[in-house]
Symmetry: C2
Subunit: 354 residues, 2 copies
DNA sequence: CTGAAAGCGCTAACAA
DNA sequence: TTGTTAGCGCTTTCAG
């Protein structure tokens, strides 16, 4: 036993020291160590010093996961964040904003990528639940999140970002997709366009559907028949978007203005316009801003979202729920912003008509 | 007691069920439940079925954090990933590659942003250690990581990404910065340039220093005096890079080719070249590839890195260390690739000389 | 094939 | 101001 405790006299020990080791070295009870390392009151300055010294000598690190086992509320000080992909810039911004807001409370974040795959969604949620996260913030893809009702009713805080949940009532923080897309339609029409095209993402992605609806509504409200709008959907990457745009632009009655519902689609459309030498002739507005959009030729007009605001608000909501906020679930809508850079202000060409 | 256990007969219970609850419902011992949920052998098919049924009925979720308390090796099945920023695309790619490689082993990742701030580095490492991560993968900024020696000698697996550690021996996975930068120098010189400029990031960032060294070495090896190379450093964002580039290009004896050590610096340089109408006259090569580089006018020639490969290899190394690999620490170098897109192939202009 | 007992590192509740 | 006891949910050990 003496040898055993001697192993903790120096910091070269192999095993990680426990509270008990610190207590023994400082000659106090274990609860006193707990009070000191948790900054709880009720410890004399003298003992506090002794304990601190022992802590440093042993390089002691409080095990917060062990503590959470018995702590009231069993908080693990961690949350799970499920995103389309951590490598996606939009997701990255949300992630970063959340991290900053949660760090001040000492909450760490587990991040994972769903790849818009319902199977992954279930598995990753399960993996996080097994780690007893204090809450979940997620961008879901499954048709319904009703399968989470049992967890939610067990007081698992839930906040949806970018997409609203289906089949379950929970907070959500989303972009104003409809209005943003409608703004794009209005802007194009205001610049004289009547032959419009909508290039959209997978129809099972909620935001894509809303942008489509918003765009067509905007067209309709301007008194233009929506049946004349060329709609191409289920474009999930640059390549398919390029092909769809190329086909549309070389068709018999090509659009004079294009709206793309997402960055990759915007990129595909940009490439098609270039390939056909139409980038200064056909208007383009993309949903979601991107790096260097202003450096393109022409600059790309976009409906910008605010991922930092989404992330910050989502963090605030999950914290409120963790702290026991029981108010009814609510959806928070973050407005978009039309940024004019040139491509969206191109007017229909005289010779473009049939 | 009867009321108590009845609360777990249905899945509408408020509290999260424990193994004991499942055991009671299935009429078996707790250890049997443990065996079933952990897929351990030695349980008859009949009992296994009974336990599974109870598990589903109660919506039981194994608490892996509680289990790790006593499990041999005390593995928490989680690792900590410290990046410059989760919102940085390069970091995002590394993150994603690691996530994919670790997911197959059921390891979750805590991600955090350091902002190249040594204070944050210490605090975040500490936060992760407190959660008893099985390993740490990090892009550090502090001058020395010697302060982690105690932890490392306590068998905490450590892998450095993008930057090599100082003051401690540990695995590292880095880009071939020197050779990549030297390639840029050789490429520019090969295209006839002799008046070169180097625009670099903060000098306390290891990769920046190495790219500078590599670039100057490359210049020297080509038989050109390095004293003629205009060097501007400590450019950490687009704005400062823009100003430095602008100043350089409007100086008395301006460079005919520019090398920028990092994306934001590249963007600043691109803007300066445009502002001065020199984008088709002065050559530019940027270190690190970026989205839409090929869509710029001219396309931007870059020294591309391979963040996915870095992330994948880093994940493999941390897994090997977690599994007990005791071989000497090693640095793995991932090669770069010169991608010609136009900006790097511009020749010095006849009228550009003095 | 199954289960009872001990205890992982810590905090809550209560004593002293 | 301090310490003792019980026990969080699980895995280990070891006995049936």
């Amino acid at each position: 036993m003496t040898t055993m405790s001697n192993r903790y006299q120096s910091d070269s020990g192999r095993k990680r020291p426990t509270m008990k080791n610190v207590a023994d070295l400082a000659g106090v009870g274990i609860k006193t160590v707990s009070r000191v390392v948790n900054d709880e009151p009720g410890v004399s300055e003298a003992t506090r010093q002794r304990v601190m010294r022992a802590t440093e000598q042993l390089q002691y690190q409080l095990d917060i996961t062990a503590g959470s086992l018995k702590r009231s509320g069993r908080k693990t000080q961690s949350i799970g964040l499920l995103l389309p992909s951590v490598s996606n810039p939009f997701s990255g911004e949300i992630h970063r904003a959340m991290e900053d807001a949660l760090a001040v409370r000492g909450i760490a974040v587990f991040a994972a990528s769903l790849d818009d795959d319902p199977d992954r969604e279930r598995k990753l949620i399960s993996a996080f639940l097994g780690r007893r996260v204090d809450g979940l913030v997620l961008t879901t893809i499954a048709k319904s999140q009703a399968y989470m009702i049992p967890e939610h009713s067990r007081d698992l805080p839930l906040v949806f970002v970018d997409r609203e949940p289906a089949g379950i009532e929970a907070d959500a923080v989303v972009t104003d997709n409809e209005i943003g897309a409608a703004k794009a339609a209005a802007h194009l029409i205001q610049h004289g366009h009547t032959r419009l095209a909508y290039l959209g993402d997978r129809t099972d992605i909620q935001t894509a559907g809303r942008r489509r609806t918003g765009f067509l509504d905007g067209v309709g409200k301007a008194g233009i028949s929506t049946s004349g709008v060329a709609v191409r959907e289920n474009l999930h990457d640059e390549e398919t978007a390029f092909r769809a745009a190329h086909e549309l632009l070389t068709s018999e009655n090509p659009p004079t203005a294009v709206f793309s519902s997402q960055n990759l689609v915007t990129f595909g459309a940009m490439r098609a316009l270039r390939a056909l030498g139409l980038h200064h002739k056909v208007a383009l507005i993309g949903f979601d801003d991107f790096t260097l959009a202003d450096m393109m030729d022409p600059g790309i007009t976009v409906i910008a979202q605010h991922p930092e605001r989404i992330g910050k608000l989502a963090a605030e909501r999950i914290l409120a729920r963790i702290d026991g906020d029981e108010s009814p679930a609510q959806t928070y809508v973050i407005p978009t912003e039309l940024i004019q850079r040139g491509s969206g202000e191109i007017r229909p060409q005289a010779d473009a008509g049939k």
